[in-house]
Symmetry: C2
């Protein structure tokens, strides 16, 4: 969920200025526009409310909104404006006289202070107030961290007191978490000191978005369901190899209590007063990269179109959205918007490289519809992934000031060849008016018959699930499991986790497992290094490559230029 | 701020039930009753608001409330009900037709999940809703931790990138913080790993209440003032011994931005609808143990009596309240309520020992007014400390069901001998009605002429400040500085910190530095082991004994019995 501040040449400072100048609807107006009973929404500081989960049951008889997922082609490291498009489309729905509701992820605090550009949205397609969105919001991320670290403290206390469960100090897999970019915490040793402070153990911190609790919270359908998921979390193993759970540590109840308010989705709005549910933000590689199920269950009864987003590209976020999130929620998507940009398609031609934090190479701004066409193999592959799930795709061309009409036409032609609708969208610069064409295309697509289907059934053997994702989604020739991965797979099957869905942690910068391969690579095999269990969140995940779960700070962190001015206003945030 | 659930035989479960059954005033009613303009208070979830600091200036012309501090005799490890008395007195003011406002500290999350009994108040003298109070509230503690750990991350990143300031990795004194009881984090090694994750350093975590940022937040008079305090924080030294500040690390602006909402006091209420400002909770030994200055600046214009509390006994919390907090705020106290209990006075007789987490020894429930009289030396000493500052003391006898009338009479006699008003208070069992006598006594005392005075002037040399506190407040014969303490003192004087006030971190279980000495010990000297600088908070502090700044969990942490029931209600919290 990075803001692509390059879009339309609008700068980061402009985004903050636009947000500050927003004319917000009062919370009661927003609630009324959603048909939500007043007692279900609690104000929670300036411009923000939280929604009671009782809304789900109370609105069960209401007509269900068309369910629209915003996903993307394989992005450059800069991001291609997926969140911005989701927000813009929500505004576009309103602009064209339709009732749209947006459901997006909550940005992490750590990266907001690390790299310039947070979420959600940018320019004239933002969720506001953006300072609250990016700074603590209603404290959900901190609550996730508190629950996570409470479990960690109880594990070490359990060990300190003789480990009644038999948990082996050397087989504890539960680490700690904090919403900060801090590479020094990646690997640490705890329990040091002159007196006994518990076992001396090597462990470390993940950023909060990478916590299994974040994933579990996003996939819970109720507080009771969350309670069960907390209990199922596996924290390590006994010397005999038996799993030890948070329930065994007697921490699951307190963890749930710590999350009792965090499970309520946050209600905000876009610059154009479209209701925006902001909730959860799990990682998009080791976890689902989707916002919460409860937000979608509520939002789907509050308008005609519920627009949500999924992290990274369609092979990553959309695949998990379909096969993990929708499997649990029971909601069926109608339309998937695939965001494409000229710059990313040029990169997929294989002729350019883009590096995060650096400006685009000059030669990429030349008029090259041929490169766009060449790179469109990636777009075609992503559209087929959508179709494979029985969902109607719509291509959204996220326009940039450096684009040429010929390049936009090239994308439209490819979409037509694939039988998909296509719309040019200038929501970053023009807000909802710029997304009107996209809104019309999505509304049309939503009227088509669609037959949503999962990629695999619960009963499909784990290995087959993995092979299906690799071959049918990524276009691999097959899967290579390491010896360790084979063993772990066997163990999880033996322990009864074979029915779980699968989340593949691979690079998001290629359809393949190799971040340097653009387009739609063929003739490769998916290397599975490790298989891990997220029993609380409810999936098996595969490590294919190196996954960094605690970011570091750069040589000039964004935080260095963030401050208050003499009037107490924030300066330098984005 | 521990709840003395033994009071009046009311159990912890009763306190939660009483809180759940409370008939709360709507936030607008509460705001109106304080004469606060509506636009100054933002609702922040169920039963809670936050107050804009603009209130301070806007209400500057209003009459100032009588300023009442609730302090105590030297407590047993169980606590003697200071917060409960402050809350009860606030209710008593209302019960007797007076406008009271309460300003108390925010309880820590870690201990709430560690030891049964959180804050603030208990029985029929509580701040409500107590679940919100004890679980995250508006996220202020998490915001303090985020600011603290953001600075820590930027320090290690600074070192990782060649330490442009010259900061010596081995002389970094800034640690990390988390609101959890976790002994494993007391001493850790960071920066491990196969690749360079920054310098490998030995460091550790403090609980958030012990963060210098918490103390600085509580002592700030405005957001601008907080910004300056953040910049002044000393994080370590160069190889040449020069201090390096958060300003040098370029973190102070971002830290302030992270605290921008946390500096707004939280507005809650007591069970009887007395407005309660809940804000900050710094440690009572290494820091001031007082709630925030901004809460008092606001509260002092919102009623006839502003009642606040200070951690531990009068020699600890009240002394810092007078000489640190009031020095910065400019507010002058009128009355100090000294809470006394029969059980604590019996312990001060030297004939009993009380251990935290264990029931009172059976023999302490025998009728022994003689023991109460014997132990009252401690009460006399605490009353003299109040008088020394020119403030009028009132003794509040916090009644317990195991007390005898003869024992209460003994306390009243001692108070009379010291020329102090005395009132029996049954607020725990009876709410405001039980504190009516105390409210009358406080109101009378507030009409007396008082001439508040500091114990020392800014210009008084540091050594003399320390000796004055030791001899005139604690009753020591003098002070013994370790060689290290001597050196540190010289250094801080040379660096221009000689005008700062002093905070003495000693045991709270005795007037002396030895926790086993009851009553009012004489013939001893204060041993100063270390002298440290809290340049951001704005005081020098002395380490006299062992100070634990990260609690551990017991053999049966409270968290183990906390859970949600089938209806999603919290069970087992207190």
């Amino acid at each position: 969920m990075t803001t692509t501040s390059h879009e339309r040449g609008t700068t980061a400072a402009d985004s903050l200025a636009i947000s500050s100048g927003a004319d917000l609807a009062r919370l009661e107006e927003l609630t009324a526009s959603m048909g939500l009973d007043e007692d279900l929404v609690e104000p929670y500081g300036r411009g923000v409310g939280t929604v009671d989960l009782a809304a789900i049951e109370r609105m069960a008889d209401r007509p269900r909104a068309k369910y629209v997922l915003v996903t993307a082609i394989t992005p450059t490291p800069l991001g291609e404006g997926k969140t911005t498009t989701a927000v813009g489309l929500g505004q576009g729905m309103r602009h064209t006289g339709r009732r749209g509701v947006v459901a997006v992820r909550q940005p992490s605090l750590g990266p907001s202070l690390g790299i310039k550009g947070g979420g959600a949205g940018g320019g004239y397609s933002q969720v506001v107030p953006m300072d609250r969105l990016n700074l603590h919001l209603t404290g959900d991320l901190h609550a996730v961290a508190a629950a996570h670290n409470q479990l960690a403290a109880m594990i070490d206390n359990h060990l300190h007191r003789g480990s009644p469960s038999g948990l082996d100090p050397e087989q504890v897999t539960w680490r700690r978490t904090m919403d900060v970019n801090d590479r020094s915490l990646r690997q640490i040793v705890t329990g040091l000191g002159p007196t006994a402070h518990g076992p001396v153990r090597q462990t470390g911190f993940e950023i909060t978005a990478a916590s299994e609790i974040m994933a579990a919270l996003s996939l819970s359908t109720s507080l009771r369901d969350l309670r069960k998921r907390m209990g199922r979390i596996v924290v390590g193993r006994t010397r005999d190899g038996e799993p030890v759970t948070a329930e065994d540590i007697k921490a699951a109840g307190a963890m749930t209590v710590l999350l009792r308010e965090a499970i309520r989705p946050n209600l905000m709005q876009t610059l154009e007063r479209t209701p925006a549910l902001v909730h959860c933000g799990p990682f998009g590689n080791i976890a689902t990269g989707n916002s919460s199920i409860v937000a979608d269950l509520i939002g789907s009864r509050c308008g005609d179109y519920l627009i949500t987003e999924a992290g990274f590209s369609a092979d990553m976020g959309a695949e998990r959205f379909f096969n993990i999130k929708c499997r649990i929620s029971g909601l069926t998507p109608d339309v998937a918007v695939v965001v494409a940009t000229v710059r990313a398609l040029k990169v997929h031609s294989g002729r350019h490289r883009v590096v995060a934090g650096k400006p685009l190479p000059e030669e990429m701004t030349a008029e090259r519809p041929d490169e766009v066409r060449l790179g469109a193999e990636n777009l075609r592959a992503q559209l087929r992934i959508i179709r494979r799930h029985g969902v109607t795709p719509v291509v959204a061309v996220n326009a940039f000031p450096t684009d040429y009409d010929s390049e936009h036409r090239a994308i439209a032609e490819v979409a037509a060849e694939e039988g998909a609708r296509c719309a040019l969208s200038t929501h970053f610069a023009d807000g909802g008016a710029g997304a009107a064409e996209l809104a019309d295309a999505v509304a049309e697509a939503a009227e088509e018959d669609s037959e949503f289907q999962f990629l695999y059934r619960d009963e499909t053997p784990l290995r087959e699930k993995i092979e299906t994702i690799a071959t049918e989604v990524y276009g691999a020739d097959g899967v290579d499991f390491s010896a360790a991965a084979e063993r772990e797979l066997e163990r999880f099957i033996a322990e009864g986790h074979g029915r779980l869905p699968v989340c593949v942690a691979k690079t998001h910068l290629s359809l393949s497992a190799d971040p340097t391969l653009p387009g739609a690579p063929t003739g490769w095999r998916l290397p599975v290094r490790e298989v891990r269990l997220s029993a609380g969140a409810g999936f098996i995940y595969l490590i294919c490559g190196t996954m960094q779960t605690m970011p570091g700070l750069g040589s000039a962190p964004a935080a260095e230029s963030i401050d208050i001015d003499d009037d107490g206003n924030i300066v330098g945030l984005f």
